[in-house]
Symmetry: C2
Subunit: 369 residues, 2 copies
């Protein structure tokens, strides 16, 4: 075996520890203290003298000390990583980037890092989530596109791994979530269309396997029933369908004598396809039909003001989710925390006065709720 004759260095001034980066050892040597003391001082432990703490902190600051993540992780078993698992399915106009912005914004002040992974839910319902858990790759997991009975929610709950979701299940499992109140949205949208004099409504909702498809449908039904309107069902299309399918289906629907005169859409892109289909049938938005849409940007409100919009703020959702998951990891937040975002159908904005031509359609009052 080897002899290695320097378990304790005899010469006082030693070489730096290979990398230029300061460690606890660097600080300890400079301060004439033990590494343990330095560690505890930086953690503000009660059994370290105030003066020592201050001195250590000053030294650490001046050296630009930052704890080595690998060291901490190895010792504590905590990765300080939040995993965001995104579906590979087509996404609408950057809602995922908004979500990511919100999360990283909220995490940037913390010691947590955001790791993004892809997941094809068709190939494997659990996807990378099982792997994250088994590899201990993250302290907490975030995901969206929740199903009414969601395998991921069940799995993570069983394993006791902190997670938070955008959207909620019907499973009765208590866990942190942020959700947009799609039921209220649909109901408000119905009321809005009714107040515009529309009587025969159709809903283009999210893919039926997602939990909020049910919420939106039930709000739609409730609204239609309450207002004594008629509901027309569209064919097998949803907000994830290709543009051409939606457009063709709406075109077909608009040929009927009992064609709808109001549409509610779960997404901006789908609303465009709906409008395109209806216009292809020779109908005019705002005259022959109206559309209410849930969108995440202000884009369509700007360039197509005749379309009513409810805004879902994914950036705010991201911020909320980041705080929630950190709270769960650190044990400061209860599993029952959740947030149900109140939808608000926006009034079309006043255009700059030098372009009055864009003020097509009627002016509308204020939001419904």
């Amino acid at each position: 075996m080897m002899t290695h004759d320097e378990t304790r260095p005899d010469s006082a001034a030693d070489q730096p520890p290979s990398s230029g980066r300061p460690t606890l050892k660097t600080i300890a040597r400079l301060a004439g203290l033990g590494v343990t003391t330095v560690s505890r001082a930086l953690h503000d432990a009660p059994d370290i003298g105030e003066e020592t703490k201050a001195r250590v902190r000053r030294l650490a600051d001046s050296l630009g000390y930052q704890p080595n993540r690998a060291g901490v992780r190895l010792r504590t078993g905590r990765s300080h990583v939040i995993a965001l698992v995104l579906a590979t399915e087509s996404e609408e106009l950057g809602i995922n980037s908004q979500l990511i912005y919100g999360i990283s914004e909220a995490l940037s002040a913390s010691t947590y890092q955001l790791v993004v992974m892809m997941h094809d839910p068709l190939a494997d319902p659990l996807g990378p989530i099982r792997n994250i858990v088994e590899a201990g790759a993250a302290d907490g997991i975030l995901f969206a596109r929740i199903e009414p009975d969601d395998a991921r929610v069940r799995f993570l709950t069983e394993r006791g791994v902190p997670f938070a979701t955008h959207g909620r299940t019907d499973m009765g499992i208590v866990h942190p979530y942020f959700d947009f109140d799609n039921e209220a949205y649909a109901e408000s949208a119905v009321q809005r269309l009714a107040s515009l004099g529309r009587r025969r409504l159709a809903l283009v909702g999210p893919p039926p396997h997602l939990a909020y498809a049910r919420h939106m449908a039930s709000g739609f039904c409730r609204g239609v029933t309450a207002m004594k309107l008629e509901s027309l069902s569209v064919g097998p299309i949803d907000t994830d369908s290709p543009h051409e399918h939606i457009q063709a289906e709406i075109y077909r629907l608009m040929q009927r004598r009992d064609r709808p005169d109001g549409f509610i859409s779960g997404s901006a892109v789908a609303a465009l396809s709906v409008t395109a289909g209806a216009e292809a049938a020779g109908l005019v938005l705002g005259r022959d039909f109206d559309v209410v849409v849930k969108e995440s940007s202000d884009l369509f409100r700007k360039f197509r003001p005749a379309i009513e919009t409810a805004r879902e703020d994914f950036r705010a959702a991201g911020r909320w989710l980041a705080k929630a998951i950190v709270g769960r990891i650190e044990g400061t937040a209860d599993a029952s925390i959740h947030f149900l975002d109140v939808p608000r159908i926006a009034v079309s904005e006043q255009m700059p006065e030098q372009i009055p031509e864009r003020m097509e359609g009627r002016r509308v009052g204020d939001g419904l709720r």
Copy 2:
């Protein structure tokens, strides 16, 4: 001091090492080998017997062994993290999510993780990049929105940290990048507009501090000169300007007697604002003016087919960048690798035949290049 009387466990069957997760030690004990042997076997080292390797691999597989990232990172100093640094500035329609999809897609087969961070370039030109380097938080860094003289590129080159960018500088520093040939795009766009009979062109380019603003402008100028057309300069607006500003400026421009009849836009949203402004002035797209736009989704090509589009594929860019940065980290790729994406102005797609009304405007030939 403590005595700790079990440096070598006497009882054969021991407790699992605290967590349920298998480590090299677990495999070693089960295989009756040393940890070093197991480690080297899994790394396919030449000095381990083939039969042993096979046995160890089988065992590792059956246990679901995955190397502990913290252990590897601590020992090797390699984090197996790729950092993507995104600007907080407004982004156009999910290009960043496309980029993220591409990157994580390419990384999902590797041992690398994608960490996403935000950066406000106005507050600090280097932003989290200095921090990543000093904390050793990532093995490689990706970023976009490159400036002609980019502080980040200079810094990382000086520090010798692997990085790759979407976009390129004018600095002459050799480094991996993926870029869209915006000069060629603008020139093609000019030719396209010329072939449509347009003579007086205006460019709505990216913010002038970005490197590709110059590329696009120079392509525009070259095209205009070559085709002997007229170029009209728009006011202080760019693709990042608020919708209202662009719209108002184009509206103003369109009041002039020598108004432009062709627009080239660096982004889809800006193209919409341009169109809105021109239409507000009572002009008709495809009759009074044409627009060529660079977009990352197929959205506008679908619902507004009269707008000519060149598609920039950010997902492919993400895939390329992921492979490039991993190649740089592992030393298998040269610093000089780069990819200049060839723009191709698309023909408006055939609409489904049951909706012929949408086939407004003229049919056009094939792409320019």
